[in-house]
Symmetry: none
Subunit: 203 residues, 4 copies
């Protein structure tokens, strides 16, 4: 799924001939440089140079810096977007588990920087925004919504609630705090968040 953004818009060099060596070198270099200088000062030229690759080789397969970083990100998370949330039957516990894991992920500075880069780029580039929405946001939201629906079935969540709003109630505050750096993001915080939101959702 990594390359979908690119593949949509390129006028198709033959992907069967693509050099895996080059692809990996580029993503490695981009990831390293992201960690070193951040997204804003990341340049295609530096990536090419670090990866010992011609610039054309990058432009052949990715339309923009954002697209490269997108693939860095998807390679980073490992897990597929849209994976179902755990479902032990106890919604509170399951959500706490998920958000604790997410909080832990954001401790990694590369993860943090990459995600910030995304968020920035989404504001300036609608096409990129759409791609991210399709490939990341929507699948994850869908998975989240499924878990909440399951909780509705077992009577843990009111049935008269808009599930899109419900999902936002969890993700929004988390994102807000991380984005504006208005407070710490630790397990205590995520547990409190889950508990508080659930109070609004319970029948």
């Amino acid at each position: 799924m990594a390359d979908n953004i690119a593949e949509q818009t390129r006028r198709t060099p033959n992907p069967r001939r693509r050099s895996q060596r080059a692809r990996n070198a580029i993503l490695d270099a981009a990831a390293e440089l992201l960690g070193e200088v951040g997204y804003a000062r990341l340049t295609m030229e530096a990536i090419a140079s670090r990866a010992r690759v011609g610039k054309q080789t990058i432009y052949r397969w990715w339309p923009s810096k954002a697209a490269v970083v997108f693939d860095v990100f998807t390679r980073l998370t490992g897990s597929e977007a849209g994976e179902p949330l755990p479902d032990t039957g106890d919604l509170a516990t399951d959500l706490k588990t998920v958000f604790r894991a997410t909080a832990d992920e954001f401790v990694d500075p590369t993860m943090d920087r990459t995600t910030r880069a995304f968020t920035a780029e989404i504001q300036n580039d609608e096409e990129f925004a759409l791609a991210v929405y399709e490939h990341l946001t929507r699948p994850n939201t869908e998975a989240f919504r499924n878990r909440l629906r399951s909780a509705q079935d077992s009577g843990q969540v009111r049935t008269d609630i808009d599930l899109d709003l419900a999902v936002e109630m969890f993700n929004g505050p988390f994102q807000h705090r991380w984005l504006l750096r208005t407070g710490p993001i630790d397990h205590a915080y995520t547990d409190a968040l889950v508990d508080t939101v659930l109070r609004a959702l319970r029948p």
Copy 2:
């Protein structure tokens, strides 16, 4: 308050001699260009040219593109950051009023673009992030928290809640939806948001 960001760090040319004509021309030009090409493709050179102003005149008074846009923004909102929220005694009504107004503001595309520009820039520029936090985020949060405290006093909000989290519960989902464009932002939405969050906060 407009120029605070700038004034902090410049080694102070004499502001009494500052040309108001130039200042306005620059902000006007920046605002227009923001609307036309967006923040990412906004250049200092274009601003200077459009404003019929030397580049140095911009750099003399603002340290960066972000700082110019910051002043565009503050001139745009008119209202001061940190203004107290209305307090009729009825928290739900007051918050609905506030969020309806906010939703209305974001209909203006210049407002939308400027705010997105901010959000993007905050991710890439920590210094700018700090300035925005000091001059916008913190005062507004503080005002919001004051209104919630008042509601606690009148028994409309539980006293065992972390007010920072409470504020985030309102602003986070709103921002999340706007940022990722995951749904419409209208009065129906903001009303539902306020109602749902309040359910979690009530004693």
Copy 3:
């Protein structure tokens, strides 16, 4: 003789396997493109593409753009370099015949362009210069010198003259005029040239 330049320096893929179809297509394409865009903007890539041939197929058999054009040229002239000049016994008439023919050849724009390409390339590439000297200039000069020697034997040319200089006296002005485009090159001109130079060479 056509490919000698190439063949000298390659570490010789088996020439028996060489595709004549490809060879001709390449030379045809090069000749066409020479006429269309000139030597400077002629690219190996364009030749390959026009000839529907892989770039490697060109590089396999020719070391450079210049070498390809060299073969275009030799195929173009048809006549071998170093062919003896006509010898009717009347030097003036013979030389006028030769130079009229040469003047006529240079009317063909492909011929003109190819020769200019040569002249340019000779200035920048000593190796190529040497090859051209060996395969074109020297044989032709030698043939010219032979004709003058024959004229010395029949008493039409002084015997105390340096024949290299004598050859130059004919070719130099012609080339000079053509190279710098300082005047027309027609039969009247070449006749006048021959007459004038012969005045200096007569006993």
Copy 4:
């Protein structure tokens, strides 16, 4: 006169603001590099880098590599194009003086390379050819023709000769020998050349 080529076609940056420091550094760098790698492998990037100058500063004042080298050349010769030839009354002596000096000039490898670069470029770029013709070839030819006319007046040269052809008779062989490197260019050669051509021109 150096910059005329450029000045004709640029859409006029203000030449009063031109940095002489930069101009000289660029011409110095170009001259050095010409000597080191030759014209074909001379790049704008290398000139800029060697001169510690932005590329734009080169492109601002010269339209092409050829134009830069043109100015290198005119700075090199020092003497203006179109200077009158010496006129002691003795044509043979005067011309021998001139051609000996020219032969000496071409010993300098930078001079040699620069002139070769010219000759090459003239073949490929008609606009450049025209500029060289206007600023160098024509004035020099004119000066030469004037000297021959003076010799006609004093009875040293036939009056029924085409002066353009006469000039070519001197310059053509010289250029031919230099261009194709078919022989040494020393004082013995130039003296012999003058003597031989004059034999054809005498009444």
